[in-house]
């Protein structure tokens, strides 16, 4: 694999450009911008609230899967430059998850805290989603350089291993939602991709424990 690393690809060059960061942020914001424009111009179909809630949740999952794809792609496609963009992707996951929650809390529950709390404890799939958002919050809050310095690299990495639990909770949340209508085709695709992303880590690090270890 070293031969590829000696001759970095054009894509890797692009990833290292100073403008790559703002470009990535713009790309990450694109689905949200499309949703906001759709909402403002009444182009979200017959049930816009449901669509906003659903799409923001699915984008959170997609960006989470992308975040988890950084390490495997870096090695397999020899794109070391990917790594400097991982935190932006992770923060994007949080932004969509938060939008997903706020849209649910506002449009479905009318911001009535009592109703939301009741919903969390009554419906397992809401509980699981809420748990994923809760675990995601400390990761988002420690996504700037000063936080890494203060925590120390090892502790920061240890904390960010939570991403695996978040991914599994997110998938379970999605599965439980879709299982209500037996509509599992899409869920199977997400599960298969996650299996590859996690399986690659398990193989490379020699087991699940190896994957969770911080060196």
């Amino acid at each position: 694999m070293t031969t590829a690393a000696i001759q970095p690809s054009w894509l890797n060059q692009v990833l290292l450009k100073p403008w790559a960061k703002p470009l990535l942020w713009a790309l990450c914001a694109l689905p949200a911008v499309a949703l906001f424009i759709g909402a403002a111009t009444d182009q979200l179909g017959a049930n816009p609230a449901e669509k906003l809630i659903r799409e923001s949740g699915e984008w959170a999952l997609r960006f989470l899967w992308l975040t988890l794809a950084v390490s495997p792609l870096r090695d397999v496609a020899s794109l070391p430059g990917l790594l400097r963009h991982r935190r932006a992707l992770g923060v994007t996951v949080f932004a969509y998850a938060l939008l997903h929650f706020l849209a649910y809390a506002w449009l479905d529950k009318g911001l009535v805290v009592d109703d939301i709390v009741k919903d969390v404890f009554k419906r397992n799939f809401i509980l699981v989603g809420m748990l994923a958002l809760l675990l995601l919050t400390p990761l988002a809050l420690t996504s700037f350089n000063a936080a890494i310095r203060r925590l120390g690299g090892r502790n920061w990495q240890r904390l960010h291993k939570l991403v695996y639990a978040i991914a599994l909770l997110g998938l379970l949340h999605f599965y439980w939602k879709k299982a209500a209508k037996n509509d599992l085709g899409e869920v199977a695709v997400y599960a298969a991709i996650l299996a590859v992303l996690l399986g690659w880590r398990v193989m490379r690090k020699g087991g699940v424990l190896g994957m969770l270890r911080v060196r």
Binding site: E50, A179, A180, K181, D183
Partner: protein
């Protein structure tokens, strides 16, 4: 599709109609895909004419009726019904059709006919969705005979004065306004009168979440959705508050007595 205003009690809901565009673009019709927009996009392949409906089972006179005969069984009536989906949204739709009772009576049910089973078309050539394993095809629904013979139970052939668009279940579908929308079998090819409670597709798919009755009931939650409130499609825009869901979808005065003495939490 010419019709007269229905005089059946409860058949003229006073709610504001859901726009035609929403009624015909936001559908659950898994034979054409699982997204709400799939039926409108994919149902063009459905051949709603010619069409034959057979009525069989516990009947004195088994029937096979073509669409032209079906349209003449009883005078077409326009009925404005609320429709409440189990997913927590609702619409108000002006249907065109006649009471199912008129059709069933033609086949002369015997005393052993305790339930009615509705079987939808499941033709992979016309319906791409039936190749998926989402449900056990064909789509089957069922009613108790007294529910089926209730005057509000509608055999619909049209909406908004037109023949049914394919995505809404052309050429004929069931509409039972006090039950969750999935009870309303679409594109029906067979009606069987039977002695035992039929196994409907959703009950077979998930017995703990879908019951045979599936009456709209704000007090009995679906495990994944609260049923206390609903979002009325096409009304009040993005931030419109959800409405309280009514017992039997607001048809309690007309149908409540069908369930007298029944535990509706157990028979959900």
């Amino acid at each position: 599709l010419a019709s007269v205003r229905s005089s059946v009690t409860g058949a003229q809901a006073m709610d504001k109609l859901t726009p035609y565009q929403d009624v015909t673009s936001y559908n659950n019709f898994y034979e054409f895909g699982t997204d709400k927009s799939d039926p409108a996009e994919n149902a063009g392949t459905l051949k709603a004419r010619p069409w034959t409906l057979s009525i069989e089972g516990e009947v004195g006179k088994p029937l096979k009726l073509g669409l032209d005969d079906l349209l003449k069984v009883a005078p077409m009536e326009e009925r404005i019904y609320r429709m409440r989906c189990v997913e927590g949204w609702s619409m108000v739709i002006p249907w065109v059709g006649y009471s199912l009772a008129a059709l069933i009576a033609k086949a002369e049910p015997t005393s052993r006919a305790k339930y009615v089973e509705f079987i939808s078309l499941a033709d992979p050539k016309q319906m791409p969705g039936v190749r998926s394993a989402v449900l056990d095809w064909p789509y089957v629904e069922g009613l108790r005979i007294d529910e089926a013979m209730h005057p509000l139970t509608l055999m619909a052939f049209g909406l908004y004065g037109e023949v049914l668009p394919n995505q809404n279940g052309a050429p004929l579908r069931l509409v039972v306004p006090w039950k969750y929308g999935f009870k309303n079998a679409k594109s029906i090819v067979k009606i069987r009168l039977v002695e035992k409670e039929p196994a409907s597709s959703w009950v077979k798919a998930n017995r703990s979440e879908y019951g045979f009755y599936s009456n709209v009931n704000p007090k009995v939650d679906h495990p994944r959705w609260s049923q206390a409130t609903e979002r009325r499609i096409g009304e009040g825009g993005f931030f419109a508050p959800r409405k309280a869901t009514l017992m039997f979808n607001g048809y309690e005065a007309q149908v409540g007595q069908l369930y007298a003495g029944m535990d509706l939490k157990k028979n959900f």
